[in-house]
Symmetry: C2
Subunit: 274 residues, 2 copies
């Protein structure tokens, strides 16, 4: 099979642009999945991707070939082989996995059947793709259904966010450029804002019924407007001398306090103060 | 003041090496703090750093100068000014803050007074500096005291880990290259291993008394040896279709379940199954 080694090859140029440019990803509706694990999840939920880009040494490894046979069966996607050093240049990570898939962003209709919003997440100007991906991953694990992103959030479908979310995208309804205030007003349950200044404590409120958590920017936190739009404002008790959490860590704590209360509902009703 | 613009300047070479090389940081006992926020925390706990490296435009900004006056008072550290494009080259981040401090890693004796180990953390081969930093940050917020890292963990004192931990380092006793098995055996309380295969659930066990949580590598999880070294093995209930959490998210959930139970001890005793 021919091996692409030139940075000037049209496909390579396109891949680099997809890697780097959020507007280009939005315009084309395309993105890149990095690593066989993400690609495998895509296959099981949305089917095989159309194009794989594989490094020369990845393709030469018989273990990898065997694994690809298992995942893709007798009708594999189109495979393009790229020289190792060029592959490193197009890969978003320092130690590339050796395999990328070029995919169309799934439309919301393609996602799992419509689900009730028992746990939803509203994100205001989250900047870091790693944080955003980690929030999506925790949300999916906690069985959240809908994720709403304000304007100026990191791109939910960037390769970095996708990698950090480990497949969570394919189980969630993700709405970018949302009007969070309107969504909070229409949410059929309790909207909970998280902010370090709040006087109520996460562990003291009841999270029974549909719940939407609101998280703000890594530096600035939630805007005053969104704090007002919420029904309840909570902080997470922090007994330590440092009093701040990474937003993805805070989100995980909130989501799994909801999971805990839902599973041990007798407890949540005894401590509910809502 | 003179502005350094050459990559060949001995200080610049040293800063790049400190940024990139963990062995060099270990040999010299030095590291870099990125951003005024981290530097400010260092000042309040351990005193002023000796050397600041500031970008030309950062130094030209009167707001920044004013802020530096507030933090450092009339006896500021030595300031070296570096041209903007060179500063970008030595900075570990894409959008540099414009200020770095060259510091000595504090010795364990310099840390806050000795504390009982009520909440400790054992980390086996955690690879990602962002994850490691986030775990340290959550641990400090949850009032953990001791952190033990196995061999082959990411460097706890790398600029990336420091940035993700947001000052947590200065409140924790951090032991690198630890023999985790021995530490688990000698720990004066319950040692809890977290693994996805465990049948017990975090939310069903009592976390009363001194507790040490054990977390494993991002990909491989904990080794069989460390799972055996623990008193209890737990998983975090995940009702969603994806069943995995980022290790830093899992750690945050565990630490704050301990915080919750300690604060609402009547609850923890009613559901304790330990």
């Amino acid at each position: 099979m021919p091996v692409i080694t030139s940075r000037d090859h049209p496909l390579i140029k396109r891949l680099i642009k997809l890697e780097e440019s959020s507007p280009y990803r939005k315009r084309t509706g395309l993105t890149l999945l990095d690593g066989i694990h993400l690609i495998q999840i895509h296959c099981s939920i949305l089917g095989k991707p159309e194009n794989l880009i594989v490094s020369e040494s990845y393709f030469a490894d018989t273990d990898n070939k065997h694994f690809m046979d298992i995942i893709f069966g007798y009708k594999p996607p189109k495979i393009t082989i790229v020289g190792d050093s060029l592959f490193r240049a197009i890969s978003p990570v320092k130690t590339p996995t050796g395999i990328l898939a070029l995919i169309s962003k799934p439309s919301l209709q393609e996602k799992t059947h419509n689900r009730k919003e028992v746990l939803s997440v509203l994100l205001e100007t989250i900047q870091d793709p790693g944080n955003l991906g980690s929030i999506l991953r925790s949300a999916a694990a906690a069985n959240a259904s809908h994720i709403y992103l304000s304007k100026h959030c990191a791109d939910a479908w960037s390769p970095k966010t996708l990698r950090a979310a480990m497949g969570a995208h394919f189980f969630l309804h993700i709405y970018e450029n949302s009007n969070l205030k309107q969504i909070a007003q229409q949410f059929p349950g309790t909207v909970i804002a998280t902010s370090i200044q709040a006087t109520k404590n996460l562990f003291e409120i009841s999270l029974a019924g549909p719940t939407a958590f609101l998280f703000g920017n890594e530096g600035a936190g939630l805007s005053a407007e969104m704090i007002q739009a919420a029904h309840v404002n909570i902080a997470i008790t922090m007994p330590g001398k440092t009093e701040s959490l990474n937003v993805a860590a805070a989100a995980a704590i909130c989501f799994f306090e909801k999971v805990r209360q839902d599973k041990y509902s007798s407890l949540s009703s005894t401590i509910g103060t809502k």
